[in-house]
């Protein structure tokens, strides 16, 4: 199972109310009929963090990526808030196309 703190995008110190609020917001954005895989992940993460003992269990018994997620979010938030004007490189576009081609023949 993926790190529930990262999946829900909450801090390790978040309380019941904040976790529930975040879970409901995510489920609104990715409802089970449109994004079943994501919904399953959110549900599992919410189950893992839904009470104090479960959160302790997650923190003590598993390695979690909450800190790395915080660093990643900080980096992502460094982007300017204006419109997207920069362009991707040729290499990146080729890699995206290769991703798609491989996915089709692998499926």
């Amino acid at each position: 199972m993926r790190d529930p703190f990262t999946v829900l995008g909450v801090d390790e110190d978040a309380g019941d109310a904040e976790i529930r609020r975040r879970y409901l917001a995510l489920v609104r954005d990715f409802p089970p009929d449109r994004a079943p895989d994501r919904f399953r992940d959110y549900r599992a993460a919410y189950e893992a963090l839904s009470d104090e003992r479960k959160r302790l269990e997650t923190k003590l018994l598993r390695t979690n990526e909450a800190a790395l997620s915080r660093l990643t979010v900080a980096a992502l938030q460094a982007s300017p808030s204006g419109p997207m004007t920069a362009r991707a490189t040729k290499r990146t576009i080729a890699a995206l196309l290769a991703d798609g081609i491989t996915r089709i023949v692998t499926d």
């Binding site: 660093l71 004007t85 995206l96 290769a98 996915r103």
Partner: protein, 831 residues
């Protein structure tokens, strides 16, 4: 090296025989052989149908190679089917093999060649393959060379590919919106290059209208090779929901690169995202090293991220401490425990977790610390259930129970752990602990339905009728339907009524059953209750009503043999008047004229497995003759494996070995290859006595058990193992439980005996036993002592469980005061 001569059919083999063998090999999917044989056939007579068979054999062989990941070889095999028009037999498979082998340019050239050929691409797959062709023509470094005198369709595709590549290059080079429009207008929306046009148009329009862009992108389906491109763009669109760490981690490296490049991140942030993702792909050690070299990032987060990597790289602890200072006690033991778990070293994991729990605090520690201790002990209980090498408290304790008890001490409010502990006491046949904890739990959590259910079950088991009724009433206030509790209460009161009937008190029995009727819901009538009321009523002056109840009950129980069997069984359990029992036997005999059904037989099995009936083997021995014959007829039913197993277990428990033998014999006639049936046949022949198995039967059973283990049917393998052990295998090194002893009533005798033997310990060298522990571990030492005692004059006179228990006690006594120092030394000596 001398090349081995290929063995093949001699030239004298007739063509018809060769052709038949080739066809057989093809049918049985022995493609390599089919190819060789068909080639020989074609060499003698090149008929079109045999050429067709050869092409099929090549395709089959290619599929088999591709399934094993040998894509290059599969593509070469398929090239043997090349037609004069330049297409192979299975274009889809051929292209897949080329792409999986990294030969994208060759795949693009082949698909471009096929475009004009109607036969090459199956109609159903045409659209998908055309989109794949478009993606390939954009992804390859250069467009394939045009064929001489190329047909019009491939030429048109080359033109579309050229303009699409030009549009893509223009966007990358920063072309303006107007310039992009000029490029994009040359890409036909009705062509397979449509997604390129949509994607590039969206990229150009995105700053102006994000919502419109999303709508356009949604037309690119997940089955399209352009779908990952669409996902990358959606992640990059500045919308209402900012991309979070989870969204970022869901992207592929190419998609992450796209988002980083197009969202205008500062160089440092983009570099961090790219390098940390790359480092994460390199493994925990690479990521750890990368994070340590980031002085500009918030150090608290860097420390936390590195700390979470340590269980996977415990050898980096010194490096971590050099950078961030010493780990706390809890952190150190937690890292060591998780690392030990990862390498499957359960003893070290157990010790580290115990030290972590000790570090957290003492009995007066704060709530958070106590909850954490509870979490650790529950985790240890789960691990102990899976890994027998974990020790728990001492050699007598079941480690699962030991840790659940400690969890309860640390965190008494955690209801699931309390319920789990109640379940464990019950499973390990520790009734005193079970009932004590159930009572304590219901006092502490009087409104919890699960606890109330457990308390009801405990009260029912000890026949504490009033208590059970009280709990059940409280439970039904919380959940008024609860059919399980209602059924239990009815069964409890029927059991009480049986007792009254056996004491010749039908009036009190009738009162009990009137009380039981209060638990019955009108929409779920109980056949057992109706039958019981009927039988009791026959002894009172309400004969007419009794007859109605009895017949209603029989019908509710399925009617026929199943219904009358339940009535007869109940009459036997109540010890009703011989006249009534005789009448029911007659009804049963009359009903047994109807052929048996699965449902009816399973209903009888269920009735016989209820505790009171199950203990009463006399009932089965005294089955009416008609029913016995009826049950034998049921042997011909095509039972599923699970049904047959349930039947066989019931028949063994009731010692109805003649019935089991007939069932197994008939079933073997139906399924001679089913090895489980052979097992049941042997069980029946030996009357479930593993000591009576012959050598040949032992070999057969070992083979059956091994086959079961290979197909991961461990239940079957263990069942056979237990039988071969003569059902002697008892729990070793665990808390003494009634289930583990042949007769639990002899507990006190066993304890007295062990006490007496322990006094004799002084004459044995404790050092010698410690030496055995050093060599074999505690359980191993107990087994060694057991072997010695078995061969001593005392051995044959002592029951096996008593011997085992005595040996374990000797080991425990010898090791007293040795932990942890000696235990540590012993542990070290094992490595």
């Amino acid at each position: 090296m001398k090349k081995s001569q290929r063995r093949g059919p001699s030239p004298s083999v007739p063509l018809s025989t060769l052709a038949a063998r080739a066809a057989e090999a093809l049918q049985q999917e022995r493609f390599k052989e089919a190819i060789e044989l068909t080639k020989l056939v074609i060499r003698q007579d090149a008929r079109p149908e045999w050429k067709e068979s050869l092409a099929q054999a090549y395709c089959g062989r290619a599929r088999a190679l591709a399934a094993r990941g040998m894509f290059k070889e599969a593509a070469i095999v398929l090239e043997n089917t090349l037609a004069p028009d330049g297409t192979v037999r299975d274009s889809r498979l051929y292209v897949t093999c080329l792409i999986r082998d990294g030969q994208q340019p060759k795949a693009a050239a082949y698909l471009l060649h096929c475009i004009g050929s109607e036969s090459a691409l199956p109609a159903g797959e045409r659209a998908a393959l055309e989109e794949l062709t478009a993606a390939l023509l954009l992804a390859v470094p250069q467009l394939p060379q045009p064929a001489r005198a190329a047909p019009p369709e491939p030429s048109r595709w080359r033109e579309l590919a050229t303009v699409s590549r030009a549009a893509m290059a223009a966007w990358i080079d920063g072309a303006s919106a107007e310039e992009m429009d000029r490029h994009l207008n040359r890409i036909s929306l009705r062509s397979a290059f449509r997604p390129v046009r949509l994607l590039l148009r969206s990229l150009t329009a995105m700053p102006r209208d994000a919502e419109r862009t999303r709508q356009v992108l949604e037309t690119i389906q997940p089955s399209s090779p352009f779908f990952p491109f669409r996902q990358a763009m959606e992640a990059a669109v500045p919308g209402a929901r900012a991309l979070d760490a989870d969204g970022w981690s869901r992207l592929t490296p190419a998609q992450q690169a796209f988002v980083a490049e197009t969202s205008g991140l500062p160089a440092a942030a983009a570099q961090f995202l790219a390098r940390s993702a790359e480092a994460a792909r390199g493994g925990p050690a690479v990521l750890f090293a990368y994070l340590l070299k980031q002085p500009d990032l918030p150090q608290a987060d860097v420390r936390s991220a590195c700390l979470n990597l340590l269980p996977r790289i415990p050898d980096r602890i010194p490096q971590f401490e050099k950078s961030f200072g010493p780990l706390s006690g809890l952190e150190r033991h937690r890292v060591k425990a998780l690392a030990a778990e990862a390498r499957g070293d359960w003893e070290s994991a157990e010790q580290s977790w115990l030290r972590a729990a000790e570090t957290i605090g003492h009995p007066d520690a704060d709530r958070q610390a106590r909850l954490s201790q509870g979490v650790i002990f529950r985790h240890l209980a789960r691990l102990a259930a899976l890994h027998p090498e974990m020790e728990g408290g001492d050699i007598f304790d079941d480690p699962v129970i030991f840790y659940l008890e400690r969890s309860r001490q640390a965190d008494p409010e955690h209801i699931p752990a309390v319920l789990e502990l109640i379940g464990q006491y019950r499973k390990q046949a520790l009734p005193k602990d079970w009932h004590r904890l159930a009572d304590e739990a219901v006092e502490r959590f009087p409104e919890d339905s699960q606890v109330l259910l457990a308390a009801t079950e405990s009260a029912v088991a000890r026949k504490a009728y009033k208590k059970a009724v009280g709990f059940a009433r409280r439970l039904l206030k919380i959940n008024s339907i609860n059919p399980g509790v209602r059924r239990q209460m009815i069964e409890l009161q029927v059991a009480h009524a049986r007792k009254q009937m056996r004491s010749k008190r039908p009036d009190l029995a009738a009162k009990d059953l009137s009380g039981a009727a209060e638990w019955e819901r009108p929409d779920a009538p109980s056949p057992l209750l109706r039958i019981a009321r009927g039988l009791v009523g026959l002894q009172t002056d309400r004969k007419e009503q009794a007859e109605t109840w009895l017949r209603e009950g029989v019908e509710l129980a399925g009617g026929g043999v199943a219904g009358w069997f339940l009535a007869w069984l109940e009459a036997e359990l109540m010890k009703c008047a011989p006249g009534d029992i005789g009448r029911l036997r007659q009804e049963l005999a009359n009903a047994s004229g109807t052929p048996p059904t699965k449902q009816a037989v399973m209903a009888i099995v269920a009735a016989l497995t209820q505790p009171e009936a199950g203990d009463n083997k006399r009932l089965v021995a005294g089955l009416p003759v008609g029913v016995r014959a009826w049950l034998l007829q049921a042997a011909a039913i095509d039972w599923s494996a699970a049904e047959f197993q349930a039947l066989a277990e019931t028949l063994v428990r009731l010692e109805a070995f003649d019935l089991l033998q007939d069932y197994a014999r008939v079933a073997r006639q139906r399924e001679p290859a089913n090895p489980d049936l052979r097992f049941h046949e042997i069980v029946a022949r030996t009357r479930n006595n593993g000591n009576l198995v012959t050598m040949a039967e032992t070999d057969a059973l070992v083979a059956i058990a091994e086959a079961a283990a290979r197909r991961e049917d461990f239940h079957a393998a263990r069942r056979i193992g237990r039988f071969l052990d003569g059902n002697r295998r008892l729990s070793v090194g665990r808390r003494r439980s009634a289930a583990a002893l042949p007769d639990a009533d002899h507990d006190d005798v066993v304890e007295d005996f062990i006490e007496a033997m322990m006094d004799d310990m002084a004459r044995r060298s404790a050092e010698g036993i410690r030496g055995l522990v050093g060599d074999f571990g505690r359980e191993g030492a107990a087994v060694q002592l057991l072997e010695q005692l078995r061969s001593s004059p005392l051995g044959p006179t002592m029951p096996e469980p008593m011997l085992r228990e005595f040996c374990q006690a000797m080991v425990a006594k010898a090791m007293e005061g040795c932990r942890p120092k000696h235990a540590e030394a012993v542990r070290r000596s094992r490595f």
